[in-house]
């Protein structure tokens, strides 16, 4: 499977990354290389192998349903570029 420059631009757009034409060309080569690797791996017979969801052979630990966090709003909001009335302010998303 080979990628086109437009695919790279779309992926960058979905990831909200700004790339120039030169970078797009470079990434085209890198991403195509990764896809080549995937294509090679697909040659392996994986009959009977459970698809891996995580490299660790462990199960998810569960925590008890207990409220353990306290209000840290002032500290956390201080890190936001803009806030008011306890809200984080962002550029308007609906006109």
């Amino acid at each position: 499977m080979s990628l086109k420059t437009s695919d790279v631009e779309k992926i960058a757009h979905l990831a909200q990354l700004s790339i120039n034409d030169e970078e797009a060309e470079g990434l085209l080569g890198e991403l195509s290389g990764i896809l080549g690797l995937v294509a090679q791996m697909e040659q392996v017979d994986t009959t009977g192998v459970e698809p891996m969801a995580h490299p660790l052979h462990m199960n998810q630990r569960l925590r008890d349903d207990v409220v353990s966090e306290t209000d840290q709003r002032d500290k956390l909001l201080a890190l936001a570029p803009s806030s008011e009335a306890g809200l984080i302010l962002v550029p308007q998303v609906i006109e």
Binding site: Q16, H54, Q60, V67, L76, G86, V93
Partner: protein
Amino acid sequence: MQWETVIGLEIHAQLATKSKIFSGSSTAYGAAPNTQANTIDLGFPGVLPVLNRSAVSMAIRLGLAIEAEIAPRSVFARKNYFYPDLPKGYQISQFELPVVGKGEVELVMGEDDIRVIGVTRAHLEEDAGKSLHEDFHGKTGVDLNRAGTPLLEIVSEPDMRNAKEAVAYAKKIHQIVRYIGICDGNMQEGSFRMDANISVRPKGQEAFGTRAEIKNINSFRFLERAINFEVERQIDVIEGGGTVVQETRLYDADKNETRTMRAKEEANDYRYFPDPDLLPLIIEEQDIEAERSNLPELPDIKRKRFQSDFGLNRYDAAVLTASRVLGDYYETVVKAANGEAKLAANWVMGELSASLNRQGMDIEQSPLSAEQLGGMLLRISDNTISGKIAKQVFEAMWNGEGDADSVIEKQGLKQITDSGAIESIIDDIMAANPGQLQQYRSGKDKLFGFFVGQVMKATQGKANPRQVNELLKSKLAG
């Protein structure tokens, strides 16, 4: 052309946990903005989500309640999109391997009208925060208290064929999640939200038409209206020579219409992948059995028991088991009324629910206890009061004037069952209405009702109706 509607629903039920699905923040509703959002909920670097045990238990409970497969191994995935109320840039959800697989629910649409609707899957995920669009100097305010609140998204098969069925299905799921105590079902607070996938196709055609998805409907009434509007719209588009576009639409309750949501760009390209922060969720048989042993009587089972124990028909039994509280209320009434199950059903579904509806109350808020209502029914069944007078007693009890016996006593509502007393009243009435008596005796049978009315008037409705009928008949005959 005859059209057929095809509807599938996605329901987001907010799970009734104390803390969030992946963090120890509180999920309590209505807190001051951002006071219940910690570094995990805000997606700070270096934090790790840890799954809430109760959220898993609740998913298992739903699986058991809809007789679904419960996955021994399920996996969390990242659903990637950018929006200010989603601080991590992805939502933790489940994709290929959800915790609950195929199940089904049964809808009682009418006495002999049962529909079985398939549930495709249900998966665990986290909720996003809230964007407040009112004016902050041209900016949007974000409250992340809701971010990370556990949701169970319950996805149906496209098995519904009209708005009524879709509403019945949604109410069924609402009923189940409340019965099994996994969601408070509070729709005003957004604890139970519905998305409807709607398409139309020519009747008889196998292939589905192109669907539109109506997002975030938060009432059953709006669900019905939104579907009916959308079906009309799609038929108009097709009959006008156009094609339905696959898109997300919003229902505007004020205008009663659906309209295109401003398209989130590339909204459907979520690039799901397994979340490396979370390991596969393993559910053992013993975990499932532990939940099974803790399940309450499920609504369908309760309904069937009401049918067999109380001799109710299927529809009435379904109405009376709509919620656990209503079912318990009804059972208590029956007990207090010494087993008068049908009488109890009539009063609970009739006078009581009409009064609750008038006041916009739920059964939980009834000013009249089940014991009080049952006590009144006892007085109907032992002939102390007639059904008609009972309405008067009911109203007095509703207004807090005490139990049936004291109301009957205070207001002198005891039924007159003394034949001698009734006979003497009849004699007076016959004497006072010689004209009507003569007409009756010469064959004008209809006047019987007039005499009954006069007796009831004279006794303020307290004479036993059956006795009045019998005594009048013999007296009037002369």
